[in-house]
């Protein structure tokens, strides 16, 4: 088997969790999904032919996450999907030049990026900001959400994202563009 499973994949437990967490939007389920993913990874390790370990693992995580979402669709899926569909629809109308005027409000300030010298106030501010960003990502409909997370949080290349999500490169690009514009649209709305 050449390289050891542990060395190849254990470094990506965190990445696996982040992806699952954003896809299923449920901490307990994400935990289960990561475990299940490693289990599947072990099972299919024989078919791993080298190449990018992170993408290989995240492909499994993604599939596990969607398996979970499918089986839980009735419980959590429908309401939020409807909401995001509306949002996607209104996006075309709302994104415009007016956004530019309020741009400064959501550019992260240097203060909010420096984690070291946080007072209680900045900590609170940061936490509410973090909660807000997460909520915005959560409201993105799939497949835009996973594409965005893979790019912005996992810093995968387009090619890696194409591999993980099994779509052509062009689709990755258009999904990513769409995801970003949906987010920009949300930011504009909250101001």
């Amino acid at each position: 088997m050449g390289q050891r499973f542990e060395d190849l994949f254990l470094p990506y437990v965190e990445a696996a969790y982040r992806l699952a967490r954003f896809i299923v939007r449920d901490p307990i389920a994400a935990d289960d999904i990561v475990q299940e993913s490693f289990l599947r990874a072990l099972r299919f390790f024989g078919s791993y032919r080298g190449g990018d370990a992170k993408s290989w693992l995240l492909t499994i995580v993604r599939n596990c996450s969607f398996d979970w979402s499918k089986s839980n669709r009735r419980v959590v899926g429908i309401a939020s999907d409807t909401a995001t569909a509306d949002m996607a629809l209104s996006y075309e109308i709302t994104v415009g030049d007016s956004f530019r005027d309020s741009l400064g409000r959501w550019i992260p300030s240097p203060d909010s990026l420096g984690a070291d010298q946080d007072g209680p106030e900045t900590t609170l501010l940061r936490q509410s900001e973090i909660a807000e960003v997460r909520a915005m990502i959560d409201r993105l409909p799939e497949p835009f959400r996973e594409t965005l997370v893979l790019r912005e949080l996992e810093e995968l290349s387009y090619k890696q994202i194409a591999q993980v999500t099994s779509v052509p490169l062009g689709t990755v690009m258009s999904r990513l563009a769409r995801a970003r514009h949906l987010l920009i649209c949300q930011m504009e709305r909250r101001q």
């Binding site: 088997m1 050891r4 499973f5 542990e6 994949f9 254990l10 437990v13 965190e14 696996a16 969790y17 982040r18 967490r21 954003f22 901490p27 994400a30 935990d31 990561v34 475990q35 490693f38 289990l39 599947r40 072990l42 099972r43 030049d97 956004f99 530019r100 741009l103 959501w106 550019i107 992260p108 909010s112 990026l113 984690a115 940061r126 936490q127 900001e129 973090i130 960003v133 997460r134 990502i137 965005l148 790019r151 912005e152 949080l153 290349s157 387009y158 690009m173 258009s174 990513l176 563009a177 970003r180 987010l183 920009i184 930011m187």
Partner: protein, 265 residues
């Protein structure tokens, strides 16, 4: 002042460092000249920074990594273990099974489960690609710290609990008097079948007793020891039993005798 439609994707490509040198230069030059694209690019960059504010990405629970690392260390291919050989009387049927080896490392107490499963399959599920399933079951039981599905020392509760979950009625003898208090019951999954496990305790040792219909074949008793775990398999009536534990072989023999006394098939 709108972004140029045909350059929209290029702006993303530039932001993500996905453009080749020529296109990067061209796109940058365009941004310097086109206010619409410049503002769009500024938006995208601000968004990207915003998304990467430390703390936005969720952190995995600290125990998750440990759980997975432990489980992986347990089953990762560090040693080659030959599959347990069936008894000599089965030799004519055995070669295919015997040749199979599976990479298997043993570490924690729950490995007993896997040991049993291996034996169970040798005895009852010849052939097939069961190794993958075994690994999966093993890891699952490790990671979920999943000793029992139903925890009770009352056989009257476990017995009906198994009904409808398995296609036969596994005997649940009460053996507390003989020194084997009942801990609970659990379902394990095998290719094509659900495998009930009855869990007993002997002092501090946990004993898993797996049971399944022997399908009319009465296999010889099997005793073996794998990396500190003792395995005892035997047939009784139409059922096959397999007990696994780190308890000493004598304890398993006592358990077998106690079960034999109570179970009349």
């Amino acid at each position: 002042m709108r972004v140029c439609g045909d350059r929209r994707l290029l702006l993303h490509g530039l932001l993500d460092g996905e453009l080749d040198a020529a296109n990067t230069l061209r796109c940058e030059a365009h941004i310097r000249e086109c206010a619409g694209c410049a503002s769009e690019f500024a938006r995208l960059r601000a968004l990207s920074l915003w998304l990467r504010v430390p703390g936005v990405a969720f952190e995995a629970p600290g125990t998750l990594r440990t759980r997975i690392a432990t489980a992986v260390a347990t089953v990762a291919p560090s040693t080659n273990v030959t599959w347990i050989k069936p008894s000599v009387s089965q030799a004519p049927k055995a070669p295919a099974r015997r040749r199979r080896t599976v990479a298997w490392g043993w570490a924690t107490g729950v490995s007993a489960l896997a040991a049993t499963v291996v034996l169970a399959l040798l005895l009852h599920f010849p052939g097939g690609s069961v190794a993958d399933e075994l690994v999966a079951n093993h890891v699952r039981s490790l990671m979920a710290s999943h000793l029992v599905d139903i925890e009770t020392s009352d056989r009257q509760i476990i017995k009906p609990w198994f009904m409808g979950k398995v296609d036969f009625s596994p005997p649940i003898p009460e053996l507390a008097e003989q020194g084997f208090p009942l801990v609970g019951g659990r379902l394990d999954y095998m290719p094509g079948r659900v495998l009930p496990a009855v869990v007993y305790r002997r002092g501090h040792h946990i004993i898993n007793v797996f049971v399944w219909p022997a399908g009319g074949q009465s296999a010889a008793p099997v005793t073996t020891r794998r990396d500190g775990y003792n395995v005892l398999g035997w047939s009784q009536g139409s059922l096959r039993f397999c007990a696994v534990s780190d308890a000493e072989p004598a304890a398993l023999s006592q358990l077998k005798a106690a079960i034999a006394q109570q179970v009349r098939d």
